[in-house]
Amino acid sequence: MLSLWRIIKFSFEDIARNFSLSAMTVLILVLMLLSVNTLVAVRLLTDEAIANIKDQIDVSVYFHPEATAEELAAAKNYVESFPEVRDLIFLSREQTLEKFRAAYEDNEKVMSSLGELGDNPLGATLIIKTREPSDYEKIITALSVPEYEGIIESKTFGDTQTTIDKVHTITGQVERFTLFLTSLFAVIAFVIVFNTVRVAIYTQRIEISIKKLVGASNWFVRGPYLMESLIFSILSVGITLVAIYFSTRLLDPFVAAMFAKPHLLTDYLLSHILELAGLQLAAVLLLTAATSTLAMRRYLRV
């Protein structure tokens, strides 16, 4: 206990003595952590975006114009009987036409050819929403039986899959870039921590030789450098979390414009604070402690 206290004292003395190097070490660790947290935020936003898109997916079943009311009702009841179905909208032939008109209002070509046909060429439509995106396949398969094949003109999935793929492509690129940035910062952090310990050992070479001469336990010679790693790690994680908190507060209004959640980032940060702090502290500590051990092995022969 006494020894631990003295080692903490020694390491603070050393940090003060090499203050600019120590500050630089903390700065680069903070930069590294900021880019890690950017990665976390990108992941979070990606998940949110995809959840949103999935929510908009529906299957539209277009019936033949000739399908009778009984046939339509039977098909509707059949689909309704599936527990996976969350929502079901039935559009009559007239409603379908209206919707079609609304969608192609500005497209003269389509409108004029629709006019030429005179009669309503469209059949009724069934719009199905399921609880899970994976359930769509099941519904589609269930409708692909001879009984219903006859009255169904076509089934569409929408092109949400393409949208999801697009989101993944974009966020994938952002993630790769951030990952690259993180590794870059990690490498720089390694070099800087290594150098900080090297300089500390150099400036303290007389103390170290005296420590050894008078029979200091190895823990007293090496302990302060490991303690410095711990101090740097705690400081950098602390500073990062504070910076992240203010950034999320700043970014939340912009995120809220995209998703209907006013404090998406801040809420996530606050609800995962222990996890985020713990994991990052462990990772940074591992990096700095391993680096200073390496530097000590190289420059500090006990």
């Binding site: 006494l2 020894s3 103390e207 005296i210 008078v214 336990s217």
Partner: protein
């Protein structure tokens, strides 16, 4: 016992010890020595004959290329690193260049040696005046090294070497930087420490000291022992 040169457990025993630094750099070659508890031994020899090498081997700063070194019956020839601190607390060492921390006071310099050995604050407070008293510098405990004469600085170094009550005190040319009066005072302190029962190994160049001491003298030449006399004189020119 077969050994003819001393008791079963000599305080220091070297058997066929050699230290080769590099291809053509011999530190010591095939040294046999036994120093008993309570002895005061001077080691003399020209520059580069292996005196400091002997000191480094004794405090396990270097390992012998061959041979066996024992301190108090403990074989330290291949001492693992974690055991080095244990040895260093049993052998106090002083050097020509005092090795004091310039930004610490006399008392802090001595406290430092105790702190890094994990001693309690109460014990540190008790030991500092004791060792300062032995070297007679107690009233200057709040001075910084640069406020002391060379002789006083060496006394502080001796006080620091005594904090763990070592069985052996090794002094590698402790008076090399001092004038005649200070040299005399340091030697008197070493004799005093020896009189308490501590084994003293004094490496020196100084003819007057050796002749005045009239104690055992070991003479080294090119890494070998060329003379070992119970009441020796400084024989080299």
């Amino acid at each position: 016992m077969v050994e003819g040169d001393g008791n079963l457990f000599s305080m220091i025993r070297l058997q066929g010890v050699s230290k080769q630094y590099a291809e053509n750099s011999v530190g010591l070659s095939n040294i046999h020595l036994a120093i008993e508890a309570g002895e005061f031994v001077s080691v003399v020899g020209q520059s580069g004959t292996g005196k400091t090498t002997l000191v480094k081997l004794l405090i396990a700063e270097e390992q012998p290329t061959s041979g066996r070194i024992e301190v108090g019956g403990w074989d330290i020839s291949r001492l693992p690193r974690r055991d080095v601190p244990v040895l260093r607390r049993q052998i106090g060492v002083i050097f020509q260049d005092f090795k004091l921390l310039p930004k610490k006071t006399v008392a802090e310099n001595i406290a430092f040696a105790l702190e890094v050995a994990g001693e309690t604050r109460a014990r540190i407070r008790r030991v500092i005046p004791q060792v300062l008293d032995i070297v007679g510098i107690g009233e200057k405990h709040e001075r910084y090294p640069h406020q002391l004469s060379g002789g006083e600085q060496q006394r502080v170094a001796i006080a620091r070497a005594l904090v763990h009550r070592p069985k052996i005190l090794v002094a590698d040319e402790p008076t090399g930087n001092l004038d005649a009066i200070n040299t005399h005072e340091i030697i008197e302190i070493l004799k005093k420490i020896n009189s308490f029962g501590t084994t003293v190994l004094l490496v020196t160049h100084n003819r007057e000291i050796v002749n005045h001491l009239a104690k055992r003298v070991i003479t080294l030449l090119n890494g070998a022992v060329v003379a070992d006399e119970v009441k020796g004189k400084y024989r080299l020119s």
